[in-house]
């Protein structure tokens, strides 16, 4: 009865779209979307253009949207210093890779087993513990940057990659636990029960059965953790200063503020900075979609 009602309602609902009114509506929708796309993507397009313009075209008035000379000199300057050798920016990009990569791996290694434990075991005051873990993310980072700075000075972690890795890990672990707990909850614990009865220890059951099933979730969570670490600016600028340690966000920001600003170099380094995260997200896109939609379908 209900099924036949739904079946009859469906063509009725979609019929306005196929008529002439539907076509008009579709055209209007598309036009609106096109305007939105241009407005949203214009800064990106402008950045890409600026990164391949000659300096005189960058400063040209009126601005040249088309018909400028192409150059890759800015991209060379991102990687090669004025006196040859590695540029400051290339060192900063490498630092970013190390810091973001290490903190993401660390947060995943610590957060996934924790999430599994919170999902599987009955613990005293579990909800309170989980709330406490989440509460560390309530505060904006800038609020605690001074105390962290003082602590780090005492511990000798100022201006070190380890310091940045630890603070980013501390911020990513709560997030990883919360997001991964959702994924672990979706994997029936009976799999582990069965594996344990089949002769595995609890940890072997986790590693051999549950962990492979969690990979999409881990990939999705790691992408978010990586993006956070990769983009982080406040701690990076407060806790690091030297060329050898500084990550890309403060290094790129440092390009602006002299008497003249080399906008071509700023745009080129911003483009280079955006690439790794895009590539990573693209590589794990299947997992990302699977991860984001996991649990949307009743098993």
């Amino acid at each position: 009865m209900a099924g036949s009602l739904v079946a009859r309602a469906r063509p009725a609902r979609s019929s306005p779209r196929s008529g002439p009114r539907g076509r008009v509506r579709k055209t209007v929708e598309l036009a609106l979307l096109a305007v939105l796309v241009v407005a949203m993507l214009f800064p990106v397009l402008w950045m890409l253009e600026t990164s391949v313009k000659e300096n005189r075209d960058v400063y040209a008035v009126p601005a040249k949207l088309v018909g400028f000379d192409l150059t890759l000199a800015h991209y060379r300057d991102v990687f090669v210093g004025p006196s040859g050798g590695a540029s400051d920016l290339s060192v900063a990009l490498l630092n970013s890779v190390v810091v973001a990569g290490a903190s993401t791996i660390l947060a995943t290694v610590l957060g996934v087993p924790a999430a599994w434990a919170y999902s599987r075991f009955t613990l005293r005051a579990k909800k309170d513990q989980l709330f406490f873990i989440l509460s560390t993310r309530f505060m904006p980072p800038v609020v605690v940057v001074i105390p962290i700075f003082l602590m780090y000075r005492t511990l000798g972690l100022i201006d070190s990659q380890l310091g940045l890795i630890l603070i980013y890990t501390a911020f990513n672990v709560p997030f990883t636990i919360w997001m991964m707990k959702g994924f672990v909850d979706q994997v029936p614990s009976e799999y582990e029960d069965a594996a344990m009865l089949d002769g595995h220890t609890r940890f072997q059951a986790f590693r051999r059965i549950t962990l492979p099933l969690l990979l999409p979730g881990i990939a999705a969570t790691a992408v978010f953790a990586l993006i956070f670490s990769w983009n982080e600016f406040v701690y990076a600028i407060f806790l690091t200063s030297s060329r050898e340690v500084r990550t890309a966000p403060p290094a790129i920001a440092g390009l602006i503020g002299g008497t003249t600003v080399d906008w071509g170099l700023v745009a080129a380094s911003a483009c280079v900075f955006a690439v790794p995260v895009l590539v990573f997200a693209y590589l794990v896109r299947k997992h990302l979609v699977a991860g984001v939609t996991l649990g949307a379908v009743r098993r």
């Binding site: 005293r124 089949d198 492979p212």
Partner: protein, 355 residues
Amino acid sequence: MAGIEITSLHMRYPDGTVAVEEVDLSVRDGELFVMLGPSGCGKTTTLRAVAGLERQTSGTIRIGDTPVDDLPPGERDIAMVFQFYALYPHLKARDNVAFPLRAEGLPEAEVRRRVEDAARMLQLGPLMGRRPQRLSGGEQQRVALARALVRRPRAFLMDEPLTNLDAEQRTDMRAEIKHLQRELGATMVYVTHDQVEAMSLGHRIAILNKGRVEQVGTPMEVYDRPASLFCAAFIGSPPMNLVDVEVADGALRGPGGIALPVPSGLPDGRPLVAGVRPEALEVTAPGTDGAVRGRVASVEALGDETIYVVECEGEHDVRVRMPPTARFAADAPVGVRHVGGPPPVYDRDTERLVA
């Protein structure tokens, strides 16, 4: 195969919830033993404690002659079948069945031989190359059964294995499990909330309620003489009619004057409740000798039988099971009378069987 002894099992979770108050059970070697009860009665927790998946707060569990309290699940030599099948989704059916043997480290030739045996026994042949998501619920559960029996364990634990199947598959699988159990002479502990399943499968049934055992007995024992009002209401569909009675004129008298035979050994001066099965009553023409007056409130014609709900005088509804040849219309005035031997009688305060 081996028997299972559960002694004074008590189970309390760290958050203070008591899942099992006190359970003593003795499962005989080669027996199909059913634990029956509503959700939250502690039956699954008890089973998981036997499996070693939960650690009891106190009490002991022995499988055969071995106390297993300190053994991890893998060393208890038991197999379990779950409600959600729990087939490893990334392995084909064949590898799922082989999994416990490979975990044990058996040589591959032996693994293959035993897997083929199990597949033949459960007629899984063409399904063995498929992954679980390409199998129906019933097929998945048969693969899960095969995985349980390849190990030749000392006992099988079944945690509501048929609950997720549709009605037809459930009947088929019930027959299959019963057949397998007899064939292998296996000790099997079977948990269910479905009393039909319990009655049709079990050699003996334990009825659990609020973490305690209410009754242990053969299906006919628990059907004919439920040990408490809880069991009386739980076993049988439609359930027993529970009628407040008192002894008068050499009979048990219920509301409206319905008369029941008095069982021997009734205690004096206690408020009593009689448990009358629907088939121990009879709908008659109004005014028949020994019948109380009533009115047919509803008629459920099930084909092989008809269930009448009769509103007796004294505003008391009783359910009566009649053969399909009985024809009484809804709202018709009728009589109801008791047939057969004395019913079980309960103390209304303690809710236990007294005679």
